[in-house]
Structures are given as structure tokens and as C-alpha cells.
């Protein structure tokens, strides 16, 4: 019987999630300042587009970074032939150096532990294949990046067990929540092989302090399970305090290093998702060796290795880039969150990432995920912004949305903000209608229950006046 596999026909690819629906809406009607000014603005894409001019300038000054230019072509043949899964040595050295610099040179990375993968996507799958057998599981704190459902589970057969975090303590991971999730899994006969943390967090935009990381490392040591630290947003930390990496903490805490693995990529920190540069950095020799063999399934193009090696070997460039990137992210984040607060929209206090975790709980007509979906549809269809609903990140509380801010220019940002402003002002008296009325795409006359309208009045102000006593202003932004 020539059936296709269950993996191929099932839903493990995760693309039926709401996360991708917004993308589809965007793709059928994408915003363009002149060609399609009423199109959907993409705010669901965590890309870093703020520093390309900086990089392009460097590239123009360094044509040897490309193996195709007159200056670089002497390397064409040897590069085109190079398929050694150890990777080009200069590439590994440059990446190791960059990773160290991003962590303030407080820790050194060994180039011989750098293993390539097909982006962080490939890295996660590879790590799952190395650490767990089908049916075994990883703990993952919520909310988490929707792609993990595919990357860690789809072809590997590994399961994910959520560690529920909530807004009461700003979604921080607590040892209690870890213990609780671990024990619940045990009771259900699920073998936990590891804990996956994303630090800095996607979608929260926050990162963990040293004590939390120490506690986490003690936890994994005690349970003898792996710790996978996805640090792909490490260089997007744009404000004090400094980012603390797992690699630093293990120098200060007794731990079995065979349990420690880092996933990295240049997709977010440098804004190069198209180049597919993923890295697995494991402190476990057996895992490093095995992952290296598995990297055959997703090596980095040698042409790209050469480009990255040239770029990241340049100390001055890296130092300047990291500083410039932080500065631009900081400015964009500040402007975005401040303007939103003026409109009465709050978000989780954050100092990293390419997005904010926006709090729209007060706009829900009821505290349910259905209401969150209704609101989300409204934001896409009426406000014409693609944002990502918290439920797609497995958030346990409805009303949170991830909104990206680094993937557009200033002009588009202004348009997005004005759309949000107009929407809030327009709906000052009115609010999200009962569900069935939402289905109509004609101009909406929204009617609202009285109690909700009063709540809206609480925090919809005229754009320039904000009560300093408003708890929303103080607590969140």
C-alpha cells in the first residue's frame, strides 16, 4: 500500500495554528506605502530589519567577503568544494568570538564545540533527536514560540509538556511551577528528558536574572535532565541589566555539564534568517559528536560560512554593530511602547527581543480564548495589523498578543501606531461586538455592554492626557 506517512499527512507541522492565519491574511493583502497603503501591516514577524544599512556599508567596503567578486573569487573553488561537517574553521572561530562578544566577553566559546544546523529550526530538531527518544518529553515554559511544536515534535516523536507561567508574576519561571509540571508528567508516565528555555524570551521580550538561572540549573541537575537554552535573541538585549547566559552561570554553579546545551542562530541578532545559520553548542562531548554527524542534514552553505567568517572576524565591525543594533532597538522599543501607553495600551515591561507582549485583556468582551480570537480577527480585519494571539504561544491567559516592532521602517511604524490610535479613539464609546456580528466585513457599528464601555473609559484618554495615577501606566510601561 503506497500510503504517504502519518508524519506527512498529519498536523505535526503546526501550520493550522492561528499564528499562521494572520500571516496568510497579510500575504493576500500586504501593506505597501504607495502601492497598497490600506494593506495589512506585518507585526507578526520577529525580524530585525533595523541595521541593514550598517551591514551593507561594511559589505561594500569588504568585497572579499563574497566569493563571487573579483576580490573574493580566488576562494571560490575551495569554498564550493568544502562540505566538511566540521565547518570552515574560520567560520567556527568567528561565530564563537561573536557569541562571546554578545555576552560582554564574560565567557569564551570553544570553536570546536560549534556545530552547524539549518537555522535554529534545524538546531532544535537535531537536539531533540540527540537527547530524547519518541514518546519522551521536554518541559517548556509558556508562553513559547509556536514553531517549537513543529521543531521539537514533528519528525522526532518527542512530546512537549508546558510549564505554566502567568501574569501574576510577569510570567517568570518558578521552581514550584517546574516541580509541579515535572511531577504531573511523572504521574502520567511521561519521561521528561529535559527543559527548554528561551532566554531572552520569545514572546515576552524579557530575560532571566542570574538567580533564576541558577535555580533552573540546580533543578535540572537534581532531576538529571537536560537544559536546552535557546539564546537566539541574546544580542537583542537593548537595555540594562546585562544579559546573563547559561554559559556564564555554569561557571559559578556546580553542575553536570553534560546536561547543558545552547541553541543559537544569526537570524535574529544579525537579521539574517535567509542565510540559515543555526548553531548547536553543547557541553556534552557525545552530543557534540553526534550532532555534528547529524548536521549533514542541514549544513550551512559554504558560501555563507565564508561571508559570515569574514564579517564576524572583524572585531571593530562586531563591536560597532552590536552597539548600533542595541541603540536602534532601544529607540524603536521606547518610541513604540511610549506611544502605545499614550493611547492606553500596556505591555509587559521588556528590555530585549524584537517584539512586545501586549496586554489587551481589558479589550476582551469576556475572559476566554474565543474572545481573544474575536479580538484578533478584529485587529487583522479592521485595524489591518497582523499581530500574534497569545493562545498560539500556548499562553494560559487570554488577552495577550505579541506585536513585533523591528521589522519595519519608521514610516510604517507611524502608520501602524496611527491605525491603533484611530481604532481606540473610534471605539471609545463602543467596543468589541457580540461574536456573530464580527463576521460581517462591512463597516462595523459596534455596540457594547455598559460595563465594558466604562472600563474602556477608564483608560482611553485623549492622546495627550494620561493620568499619572493610572495603574496601567505605572505597572506595565
Amino acid at each position: 500500500m503506497a500510503a504517504i506517512s502519518k508524519i506527512a499527512t498529519g498536523n505535526g507541522h503546526g501550520e493550522n495554528s492561528a499564528y499562521f492565519d494572520g500571516w496568510k491574511a497579510y500575504e493576500t493583502n500586504p501593506f505597501h506605502p504607495t502601492d497598497r497603503p490600506d494593506g495589512v501591516i506585518q507585526m507578526g514577524l520577529a525580524e530585525n530589519q533595523l541595521c541593514f544599512d550598517f551591514i551593507e556599508k561594511w559589505l561594500m567596503e569588504h568585497p572579499e567577503a563574497s566569493i563571487c567578486t573579483a576580490e573574493g573569487v580566488s576562494k571560490f573553488k575551495e569554498t564550493a568544494l568544502f562540505q566538511d561537517y566540521h565547518g570552515i574553521p574560520e567560520f567556527r572561530q568567528a561565530v564563537a568570538k561573536f557569541m562571546g562578544k554578545v555576552r560582554g566577553d564574560r565567557v569564551k566559546f570553544d570553536p570546536d564545540r560549534i556545530v552547524m544546523s539549518g537555522g535554529a529550526t534545524g538546531a532544535h530538531e537535531m537536539v531533540a533527536f540527540c537527547l530524547a527518544d519518541p514518546g519522551e518529553a521536554f518541559l517548556v515554559p509558556t508562553p513559547y514560540y509556536p514553531g517549537f511544536d513543529r521543531d521539537l515534535r514533528w519528525r522526532t516523536g518527542v512530546e512537549l509538556v508546558p510549564v505554566v507561567c502567568d501574569s501574576a508574576n510577569d510570567f517568570k519561571i518558578t521552581i514550584d511551577s517546574l516541580q509541579s509540571a515535572y511531577h504531573k508528567a511523572q504521574e502520567a508516565n511521561i519521561k521528561i528528558k529535559g527543559l527548554l528555555i528561551t532566554n531572552p524570551s520569545n514572546p515576552l521580550g524579557t530575560f532571566m536574572d542570574k538567580d533564576t538561572l541558577k535555580n533552573i540549573i540546580n533543578f535540572v541537575n537534581e532531576k538529571n535532565i537536560h537544559l536546552i537554552g535557546d539564546e537566539i535573541y541574546a544580542a537583542t538585549v537593548f537595555m540594562e541589566p546585562e544579559f546573563v547566559s547559561i554559559s556564564e552561570v555554569i561557571e559559578e554553579v556546580e553542575c553536570n555539564r553534560d546536561l547543558i546545551h545552547i541553541v543559537y542562530s544569526l537570524s535574529k541578532d544579525m537579521g539574517f534568517p535567509g542565510f540559515r545559520v543555526g548553531i548547536v553548542y553543547s557541553y556534552n562531548d557525545t552530543v557534540t559528536s553526534c550532532a555534528r554527524k547529524m548536521s549533514s542534514f542541514g549544513l550551512v552553505s559554504s558560501q555563507t560560512q565564508h561571508l559570515i567568517a569574514t564579517m564576524l572576524s572583524n572585531d571593530e565591525f562586531i563591536d560597532n554593530f552590536v552597539a548600533e543594533s542595541r541603540e536602534r532597538l532601544f529607540k524603536r522599543h521606547k518610541y513604540f511602547t511610549w506611544t502605545l501607553s499614550q493611547i492606553g495600551i500596556c505591555s509587559l515591561k521588556s528590555n530585549a527581543g524584537l517584539f512586545i507582549w501586549m496586554d489587551l485583556r481589558k479589550l476582551l468582551k469576556e475572559k476566554t480564548f474565543e474572545a481573544e480570537m474575536d479580538l484578533w480577527r478584529l485587529i487583522i480585519d479592521e485595524v489591518k495589523l497582523n499581530v500574534s494571539p497569545g493562545s498560539s504561544f500556548h499562553c494560559h491567559e487570554p488577552g495577550w498578543f505579541r506585536v513585533c516592532f523591528a521589522n519595519m521602517d519608521d514610516y510604517t511604524m507611524e502608520i501602524a501606531l496611527s491605525r491603533i490610535r484611530n481604532f481606540m479613539v473610534k471605539n471609545n464609546e463602543t467596543m468589541v461586538p457580540p461574536r456573530n456580528k464580527l463576521l460581517r466585513r462591512t463597516s462595523l457599528k459596534l455596540s457594547l455592554s455598559r460595563s465594558l464601555s466604562r472600563k474602556m473609559d477608564d483608560f482611553i484618554m485623549s492622546p495627550s492626557i494620561m493620568s499619572p495615577q493610572s495603574p496601567l501606566v505605572q505597572a506595565r510601561t
Binding site: 500500500m1 503506497a2 504517504i4 506517512s5 508524519i7 506527512a8 499527512t9 507541522h13 501550520e15 530589519q49 541593514f52 551591514i55 551593507e56 559589505l59 561594500m60 568585497p63 563574497s66 573569487v73 571560490f76 573553488k77 569554498t79 564550493a80 568544494l81 568544502f82 562540505q83 566538511d84 561537517y85 566540521h86 539549518g118 529550526t121 534545524g122 533527536f129 540527540c130 537527547l131 530524547a132 527518544d133 513543529r150 519528525r155 519521561k191 538529571n224 553534560d258 537570524s267 537579521g271 534568517p273 535567509g274 542565510f275 540559515r276 557525545t286 553526534c290 554527524k293 547529524m294 549533514s296 542534514f297 542541514g298 549544513l299 552553505s301 559554504s302 558560501q303 555563507t304 561571508l307
Partner: protein
């Protein structure tokens, strides 16, 4: 509880095979014309190094594609951000056109049916994930590329059952061999999901004949299973008979509207035909939209770098370049292959008549001390350590008959090939002399001690990726 997965602790990565050990020896002592003329010559690496001057001169004339530019404007940002798993449309179009050109334009391919992957390594694994469950099996004719043990089985849990081919009919696939393999799978309680063939063949260097392809189509139709045709050497066919693609046969038999049409899938890559293994450009071509959809999503785990897609879309769209490249490349491959064949002849060694690939399938059965795989290993070690040539023993390719070796010719210069052949001739001559004197010694009842020492250190080898095919 085991700390790591079973995949880590098992051997399915295949790297303990002798195939890779020869590489390790080469790495310790690589030949260099000037710096290390006594070193080991690498003839175990199926790479095409004969035609680099052609893309290099193309690059010199096409600065735009070279420097991240389109019409003089920088498109660096656009490329750096492009991560759509549907791939760069211009690249897919250029790639399918190139594939059609290789097949004499007797078949055309739809860019919407192609999925880009990180090399053929990834393409083959992805197809397994799409077509088979853990514990299912694919039938493969022997001898086959050693990397398939890793690519098809390791992380997928799929099994390989060999279709035994022999020198009696030049290792062609026969109906009884197919049927026997199928039955063997049944006996092992393995559900057969398909057949995978490499055409042109690695390690044989031959193209499949039409009757073989017909046989395969009949077989998979009858059993209602898939056929994967790995055609990564399709552009290396340098003499007649020409290359006949499975798609061509399906078309000639008017099978486009039948169920079998959607069960035939092609794997391709630019690693062999264009000599660009480092760029990791692989592809799956399928007529089944469900397979295309699933494989496209899976390609997220190994996409082709956008800068590479862009460069190659410009190169392959240049029909003048591709035409010139194919013509010159074929000539050079043919010339080098015939030098290898005549060099072997001078040493009294024959090989399978071949018209494609980057290697020859060499017959050293007459040099074996006995018709066993132990004797083959013995001979191989002598060739690696004493003759100082790294070649690949047939057993590593799962050949059912001892004494065959794959010898690559396209990754070395003409001069190096000459040196290799001289060494081989000296070795064969010395074996002949030794055999003669052995006979004499035997006759005089004295013990004959072997002249060489085995240097076996399996503990200390470096890991090394050998996408060598």
C-alpha cells in the same frame, strides 16, 4: 534511564564503516605533488573538480549576481530576510530548466513541484519521512552509496532491504532479484514502501537501460509502492548510451494520468553535476502534491541559503553558460575516465564499462587471496597503506561479491592520476612477483612472511563528514 537518545548510541550514522576509515588515513597523510609526493592519493571522493574554471569565468563576467546586486542595486537586505520555504521562484525555475536541459528537454518539470533542500542528503531523508513510517522498508539495488545507510535509516527508523545485483549481468536489476528482495522484506515482517535507485549509478558509473526502468515501473505498479530515482549524476553522462530519466519513460508509456505517476519521485542536487557540494543545494521533485506540500514544510529543517539560491539562479538562467558547461564538462570527464581505464588496463585491471559518474567500478577480484570479504579488506588495506591510494571497497557499498572497488577520477589532476596508476602498476607487478616466489617458496616448504604491517588504529580517528558519494 539513558541520558541520551538511542540514535546517539547506535551506529546508524554509518561512520564506523571502512569507507570512512580510508578517508581518515588520507587526512593524516594527504598527497601533494610538491610538498608530500609520497602521501596518499585521494580516489575515494566523488567530487568533480575538472571544470571550475567555467563558473569562475562566468563570475568574472557577471558582477551583479556576484555582489548581492540586481541591476546595480543592492539586494542584500532582501536576500538576508528571504526565508520562505517555497524557495526563490527564479531559482526554482532556473533549476527545473537545467534539469530539463540535462534530459535533452525530452521532459519538462514544473517549478511548483520542486522542493529545495540542504543537499541530496537532506532530500533523501525528507522523502523517507514523507513516504514511510518507522519500521517500513525501502528496497535498494546493491551496490549502493554507503551514505544511504545514514540518510535513509538513521533518524527515520526506516529499513533498507537490498536487491542483490551481480557481475553476471553487469549488476543490472532483474525481476527475480526485485521479487526476492520483496519477499525477504516480508519474511522480516517489514512493510515495503518503495524502491530507491540511483541513476546514473553510484558506484557503478552506468546509466540504467530502458528495459530496467520499465521493469521498475511494472514492479512498483504491481506492488503499489513508491519509486525514488536519485538522479544526482544525471549531468555527468559523458558517453553513450545517453541518460534516460524515469520521467521520460513514464511519459513515453503515457502514464501521466495513472496512479503510478504520483508515486515516482526524483532527488537532485548540484553537488556532482556542477561540482558545488559546499553550497548544499538539493531538491525533491514529486508529482504528488501531498508529498510536495509535506516536504516543503519539512525543508524548514534544511533550507538552501538565500544568497546561494540567488547566485545559482543567475548562473543557471544563463543558458549560454549551462550549454557550454555541460559540453566541456562531459568532454573532460570522458577524457579523464578513459585515462583511468587505460591506466588500469596497463596494470592488468579491468573495470565495469561505464558512461557516467565521477568514478569507475574496478574489478580486482583476481588480486584477492581468496574469494572472501576478508580478503577484500586485506587487499584494500594494502592499497591504502602501501600503494597509498584511498579507494572504496565494494563491501562498504554492500556489494554481494568481494573484489570490486570504486575508484574516483574527477577530483584529481591528470598528473596525479598518472602517479596513481604508476603506483598501482608497481603494486600489481610486485604481487605477481610475490605470488611467483611464494609458489617457489611453498614448493620449498618455507614459510612466506608478509611484507607489510597492518596499521590499524580504530581508536584514534577524527570524525569527518564524507559526503563523498
Amino acid at each position: 534511564m539513558g541520558l541520551l537518545s538511542r540514535k546517539v548510541t547506535c551506529n546508524s550514522h554509518g561512520q564506523d564503516s571502512s569507507y570512512f576509515l580510508g578517508w581518515q588515513e588520507y587526512e593524516k597523510n594527504p598527497y601533494h605533488e610538491v610538498n608530500n609526493p609520497q602521501g596518499i592519493i585521494q580516489m575515494g571522493l566523488a567530487e568533480n573538480q575538472l571544470s571550475f574554471d567555467l563558473p569562475e569565468s562566468w563570475l568574472a563576467k557577471n558582477a551583479d549576481a556576484a555582489g548581492f546586486k540586481r541591476d546595480g542595486q543592492s539586494i542584500f537586505k532582501e536576500l538576508a530576510l528571504f526565508q520562505d520555504y517555497h524557495g526563490l521562484p527564479a531559482f526554482k525555475k532556473a533549476l527545473v530548466d537545467f534539469m530539463a536541459e540535462i534530459r535533452g528537454n525530452k521532459v519538462t518539470f514544473d517549478p511548483n513541484h520542486i522542493v529545495l533542500t540542504a543537499g541530496a542528503t537532506s532530500a533523501n531523508e525528507t522523502l523517507m519521512f514523507c513516504l514511510a513510517e518507522q519500521g517500513d522498508a525501502f528496497l535498494l539495488p546493491t551496490p549502493y552509496y554507503p551514505g544511504f545507510d545514514r540518510d535513509l535509516k538513521w533518524r527515520t527508523g526506516v529499513e533498507i532491504v537490498p536487491i542483490q545485483c551481480t557481475s553476471s549481468n553487469r549488476f543490472q536489476i532483474t525481476a527475480p532479484a526485485l521479487e526476492e528482495a520483496y519477499q525477504q522484506a516480508q519474511r522480516k515482517n517489514l512493510r515495503v514502501k518503495g524502491v530507491l535507485v540511483t541513476n546514473p549509478s553510484n558506484p557503478l558509473g552506468t546509466t540504467m537501460r530502458r528495459d530496467e526502468l520499465d521493469l521498475l515501473i511494472n514492479f512498483i505498479t504491481d506492488k503499489e509502492i513508491h519509486l525514488i530515482s536519485d538522479e544526482i549524476y544525471s549531468g555527468t553522462v559523458f558517453s553513450s548510451p545517453g541518460f534516460v530519466s524515469i520521467m521520460e519513460v513514464l511519459k513515453d508509456r503515457s502514464l501521466e494520468q495513472t496512479p503510478v505517476w504520483e508515486r515516482v519521485h526524483i532527488v537532485y542536487s548540484l553537488s556532482k553535476d556542477l561540482g558545488l557540494p559546499g553550497f548544499r543545494v538539493g531538491a525533491i521533485y514529486s508529482n504528488d502534491p501531498i508529498v510536495v506540500a509535506a516536504a516543503t514544510k519539512m525543508s524548514s529543517f534544511g533550507l538552501v541559503s538565500s544568497q546561494t539560491q540567488y547566485l545559482l539562479s543567475a548562473m543557471l538562467s544563463d543558458k549560454k553558460f549551462t550549454k557550454e558547461y555541460m559540453a566541456k564538462n562531459h568532454k573532460r570527464l570522458q577524457k579523464q575516465q578513459s585515462k583511468l581505464v587505460s591506466g588500469l588496463e596497463k596494470a592488468g585491471i579491468g573495470c565495469l564499462e561505464s558512461n557516467a559518474g565521477l568514478f569507475c567500478w574496478v574489478d580486482m577480484r583476481h588480486l584477492l587471496s581468496s574469494n572472501t570479504f576478508e580478503a577484500e579488506m586485506e587487499l584494500w588495506k594494502r592499497i591504502v597503506y602501501d600503494v597509498k591510494l584511498n579507494i572504496s571497497p565494494g563491501s562498504s557499498c554492500h556489494c554481494s561479491e568481494p573484489g570490486w572497488f570504486r575508484v574516483c577520477f574527477a577530483n584529481i589532476s591528470e598528473d596525479t592520476l598518472k602517479v596513481a596508476m604508476q603506483r598501482l602498476k608497481s603494486f600489481v607487478d610486485s604481487v605477481a612477483i610475490n605470488n611467483q616466489s611464494h609458489q617457489e617458496l611453498k614448493n620449498s616448504r618455507k614459510k612466506f612472511r608478509t611484507k607489510w604491517v597492518f596499521r590499524l588504529s580504530f581508536q584514534s580517528f577524527h570524525d569527518r563528514e564524507q559526503d563523498e558519494r
